[in-house]
């Protein structure tokens, strides 16, 4: 083990002497720095990404080859329908990591340090979200690559695919604010996961990600048809396959705006409040 050298008085002054403190960073620079931190975490713990993409890959393989024939005539036809939905489901699920990461930071005392620094207070939350958006993008890319290998052929071309991914990211960004609130309310990262899944399970499965709305009983169609995830799945399918998606896109944007306008101020208030 190395030892701590006790600095002599001159060295000590250089190290510990009262230099004027720098002036606090701009809001943008603070957010960028915290986004950099989120990137570093992905670099050091790449398993985080692997972890969130294994499940959708298994889902896609299972559904395409086991149910594909029954649901759409052939696996190849079914994957054209399924893949945009799996992308939606995956990204929607991993938004939970935002809440879990925040909860870990609070428990570890890291947020105490952030909150005692003279920076723009919302920066830690926005920085984490910026890092999460990167994570969502990587997960989207991995799923699209897998889809292309399995025979997914988006008719809307690269522009359609990028527009669809952008829409999914917007909705994921909005949803993340909800898990930030959960992350501040509950004690452990595990309970963040459990609590969020109570909402996420019905949100993703009571949608048309796996099967068409028209195959469901009428009362269920009424519910599923109003689920924002259904609109998101419709919109990304249509965008990727080059179909008109105006109404669904509008509903997704309205739902996202609504979630952010309600959840973000609550989250900020809770964050500023003591714990």
């Amino acid at each position: 083990m190395t030892s701590v050298s006790v600095p002599g008085s001159e060295r000590r002054h250089e190290l510990f002497g009262m230099h004027p403190r720098p002036s606090p960073p701009s809001a943008l620079s603070a957010v960028a720095t915290l986004a950099w931190r989120a990137m570093l975490k992905i670099k050091h713990v790449p398993f985080q990404l692997f972890d969130v993409t294994v499940m959708p890959i298994m889902f896609t393989l299972l559904f395409t080859y086991i149910f594909g024939g029954a649901l759409a005539g052939s696996p190849r036809e079914y994957i054209q329908y399924l893949l945009p939905g799996v992308l939606v489901q995956t990204v929607v699920f991993i938004t939970v990591y935002t809440g879990m990461g925040l909860n870990t930071d609070i428990n570890k005392g890291l947020f105490d340090r952030f909150r005692s620094l003279p920076m723009w207070q919302p920066a830690p939350l926005l920085g984490a979200l910026a890092g999460d958006l990167f994570r969502y993008s990587v997960a989207s890319a991995l799923i699209l690559i897998m889809g292309l290998i399995l025979g997914f052929r988006p008719q809307g071309g690269i522009v359609g695919v990028l527009l669809a991914v952008a829409l999914v990211l917007i909705f994921a960004f909005a949803l993340s604010w909800l898990w930030i609130i959960v992350g501040m309310l509950v004690r452990t990262p595990e309970s963040v996961m459990t609590t969020s899944f109570i909402f996420l399970m019905p949100l993703t499965f009571a949608s048309n990600i796996f099967v068409e709305l028209s195959t469901m009983p009428g009362w269920l169609q009424a519910v599923v048809g109003r689920n924002p995830v259904t609109h998101l799945a419709n919109a990304s399918r249509d965008l990727m396959h080059g179909q008109a998606a105006g109404t669904d896109v509008m509903w997704v944007l309205i739902a996202s705006a609504f979630i952010v306008l309600v959840a973000a101020p609550i989250a900020m208030r809770m964050y500023r409040k003591e714990r």
Binding site: S5, R21, T33, H44, G109, L110, R115, S116, E274
Partner: protein
């Protein structure tokens, strides 16, 4: 010299529990000040209020003349906090952690990297700079955590139990660092459960119990009221303890404290020479001793001397 920290009638309640019950402190600029007390006494709550992380329920607190509630930002610009748990990102390596803090304080990338390297070197962490903090030992974590508080030198540094859980060697390293920081002019407020630590580092200290300051002064003053040293006895037979207590009281007046187990006794001594008198009176009366030692009074003995009861951990600061 003016005061770096002033609190008056500080009160903090969490629901029905009263964590602080009217705390008055005056801490001189440039000094090292210790808050001594058992778990749950309210030490952490005081520090968290002063570092602007908690709002007081009542009373006022000012750091370097800035009110911690109304001028929180001005306070944050001048203080650093090292909490009880290492408040660094365990997934990141040593350099990255310090660069992160440097950037968030407003240093340039280049300036932040330079300062990180300088601190890692001075804290004996240069070799571990590229390793994730989760691989660090307890002592290394504590040091990276303190280093993170010194990326920009604060005018006031808060250290919450800086050596709890550290081995003696790491503990003395932390003490050296605190002395160095203080010598360069920073005011240090630290909390501790160890009398020895408060004694070695702090010029003045406050003993905290149940959210109140029950004694305040220099360590010398405190010791004068508690006894400079203590004789710890272990008797061979538990049934002789009453007799031993009586004999010692006859020689020294008061200052005998029954220890945690039925054969133990602690005796407060004004000077170590009194130990000889105690031992001889016990042997003359054929009280059998299993062992004895002379040392510093423990926190328990300080509390006993000040409050007439043993220090107990109160559960109320479970949220520390």
């Amino acid at each position: 010299m003016s005061n770096a920290i002033e609190t008056s009638g500080l009160i903090k309640t969490f629901g029905a529990t009263r964590a602080l019950d009217g705390v008055d402190l005056r801490i001189r600029e440039g000094s090292v000040y210790g808050l001594l007390g058992p778990n749950g006494a309210g030490k952490t709550t005081i520090i968290r209020i002063l570092a602007t992380l908690l709002r007081p329920t009542g009373g006022t607190a000012a750091v370097l003349g800035h009110d911690v509630v109304r001028e929180a930002r001005a306070v944050r610009q001048k203080v650093s906090l090292t909490g009880q748990y290492a408040s660094v990102d365990e997934d990141l390596n040593g350099t990255e952690n310090l660069v992160l803090v440097g950037r968030l304080l407003g240093l340039s990338w280049r300036g932040a990297r330079q300062r990180a390297a300088e601190l890692l070197d001075a804290f004996g962490l240069a070799e571990a700079a590229g390793r994730q903090v989760q691989t660090y030992s307890g002592g290394m974590r504590r040091r990276i955590d303190i280093a993170a508080s010194l990326v920009a030198i604060p005018e006031v540094l808060f250290l919450d139990e800086p050596t709890t859980g550290l081995d003696p060697r790491s503990r003395s390293q932390v003490w050296e660092l605190v002395r160095g920081i203080s010598a360069a002019g920073t005011t240090v407020l630290l909390t501790t459960q160890y009398l020895e630590e408060a004694d070695r580092l702090a010029e003045r200290l406050a003993v905290i119990d149940h959210g109140r300051v029950i004694a305040e002064g220099t360590s010398r003053e405190l010791k004068a009221s508690v006894g400079a040293s203590a004789l710890h006895l272990r008797l061979a037979r538990a049934d002789q303890r009453g007799r031993a207590q009586e004999l010692i009281a006859r020689v020294l007046g008061d200052g005998v404290l029954p220890g945690p187990d039925p054969t133990a006794l602690a005796v407060r001594l004004a000077n170590p020479a009194q130990a000889a008198a105690v031992l001889s009176v016990l042997t003359e009366d054929s009280v059998d001793l299993a062992e004895f030692s002379v040392g510093n009074p423990t926190l328990d003995e300080v509390f006993f001397a000040l409050t007439g009861r043993a220090a107990e951990d109160s559960a109320q600061e479970a949220r520390s």
